[in-house]
Assembly symmetry: C2
């Protein structure tokens, strides 16, 4: 017994096949599929029965050609960095695929020359292979935004237009500052006063944003920050080295890091010095990566609401592609803090 009533093979049925079987014209079948309310109830039923009998599904290519839409969303992906804890993209991709499907879109993946943020987009656009893009690699700055805007290509960015506050395109982002602020407050509440920051180099807008959250929380608590911050590359080794220097020179009792990768570096340092993670020095990372979840002791981490990001992205996309066009500007979502043992106990 087959899962559907369609034939097991042979050429797929067309609109004409359904029309013949239902004894109506092709147009009526098309309406039954796309504008059911136009049909009389009994005709509709007859057509739907024929559709079910035949296992008919509209041919995508034909529909795409006619409607000038592919119902495909392009997403450029990059190789996951080896030696890094970051798997944000993976989680986002899955959420995006899921959410897109509900909106009638599929996700088409492509890659491009890593040194050229624009490569790959143009061909897909010109060949009308995709209806829109989701642009994620905005940490490079996003020349894509400007370029796509110029091409009148619909797109939604996951990431704010840092450089260009007049940008009018739709975007969704996660409030990294709020995340790090809450991580810092969490440590303050536990009684820490010397909380260090390890983040990315100054040209990273995302890094500076996250750092601002730490800085804000410290200032609000009336605590000093000077000498407590370090800016390095996003590698475990950098995190280790930065934490060594900070421990020697500023004796912090806790670290907030711009990434789980950096936080892992801190854990290394603590291990090497025989300091107990959590009990002696607390650590909070960013991204709630698999590493944070699996390492011992568990690493507290700021978790981006990527499922919600995907939902907002698709909503914006629908606005962009739908009729009437509904413009959405920017959406900023707040991450949550996942508390694990690296936060340590409350300090007396």
């Amino acid at each position: 017994m087959s899962r559907t009533s369609s034939r097991t093979s042979g050429p797929p049925p067309t609109l004409a096949d359904v029309a013949e079987r239902a004894g109506v014209s092709r147009q009526t079948v098309s309406n039954a599929v796309n504008n059911p309310d136009l049909l009389r109830a009994d005709t509709l039923l007859r057509v739907q029965q024929a559709i079910a009998d035949l296992g008919y599904l509209p041919n995508r290519a034909a529909r795409n050609l006619r409607t000038r839409a592919s119902h495909l969303i392009g997403l450029r992906i990059q190789a996951a960095q080896e030696g890094t804890a970051n798997a944000t993209m993976d989680r986002f991709v899955h959420s995006l695929v899921e959410t897109s499907r509900e909106a009638g879109y599929h996700v088409l993946l492509f890659t491009g020359d890593p040194t050229d943020p624009l490569s790959g987009y143009e061909d897909l656009l010109r060949s009308t292979a995709v209806d829109a893009f989701v642009v994620t690699d905005t940490y490079l700055g996003n020349p894509q935004a400007e370029w796509l805007d110029g091409r009148r290509a619909p797109f939604v960015a996951f990431g704010r237009p840092w450089e260009n506050s007049e940008a009018t395109h739709a975007w969704v982002d996660v409030d990294g500052a709020a995340g790090c602020e809450s991580a810092t407050r969490h440590l303050l509440a536990k009684g820490h006063e010397r909380i260090a920051w390890i983040g990315w180099r100054k040209d990273s807008r995302i890094g500076e944003d996250r750092r601002a959250g730490w800085h804000r929380a410290m200032k609000e608590a009336g605590l000093p920050t000077s000498g407590l911050a370090s800016r390095v590359e996003d590698t475990v080794a950098s995190g280790r080295e930065a934490s060594e220097v900070l421990l020697d020179e500023a004796a912090p009792t806790a670290f907030v890091c711009a990434s789980d990768t950096l936080a892992m570096g801190v854990l290394h340092t603590l291990g090497l010095r025989g300091l107990r993670v959590g009990d002696d020095v607390a650590v909070v990372g960013f991204d709630d990566s698999q590493v944070a979840q699996v390492v011992r002791p568990g690493l507290s981490s700021v978790r981006q609401p990527l499922e919600d990001v995907a939902i907002e992205v698709v909503t914006a996309l629908e606005g962009l592609l739908g009729r009437p066009r509904v413009a959405q500007q920017g959406v900023l979502l707040t991450p949550s803090l996942v508390v694990r043992d690296s936060s340590g106990p409350d300090r007396s």
Copy 2:
């Protein structure tokens, strides 16, 4: 200055536009694109110039409709398991996208009801949205293979047809047994004699395959295996518990694990007991996950050659879709061992 000589917007140029500009017929332009050798050199040049001037790229929908091909490969993805170290799919997806592009294909992602291995495939197939599938979730057994075969749907499986050795479809897999055998040999060479196995439950064919590699290496070395193996769920907690029991009851000096997730559980146990990873007890995982790369001490791990898997998959796909049809049966690739500190020093 624009990146191409095409107009910045307006409706994209069609074959007819190019034909007019080059002073040839539409068909000649089509040939210039698809069968350049059919044209006289000077005509070809003229057409190519017109194509470049206009920034012409064939409309995908039209081409797809005419050729009955979408040049899209469907790949069903699942949510990454939280609390697990596994990111194999992520790496594979990227390699597949990259390799597919070189072969003229794009990857279309879709999801399906996790409890139904078939869901999602049918609609894409019937609507001719994809030319073929890459089937990865074969650990469920793969009813997809049989089903797709019945539909005459082209597909390549990443994963052997464990249950059905008469299956004739194309597949690519990684030799887990060979990987675990080499991991075990590596530990034997360091002087270990009591090497334990922690793997998955018996109904996992992949798990049993990997276990066989450990078993084979032990037998070849003339060492006993009884009491040294454990089969559990793929979670960190299970790995921790299994290693506790094994340490108590069989006193192994090394562990080979079916996954990095399980290996992390072993590391937890060693930490809790004050045993030094590597020095006191060696551990090898499987997958070379980010966790293995980032944890301290580094976790030795068997790494699947996913880039090569992708290449073989695409090769098989090209055989399936190309003319003439070139059937490829099965390809088994050998993983490599990435040695890190958890292997420990040679033992006297």
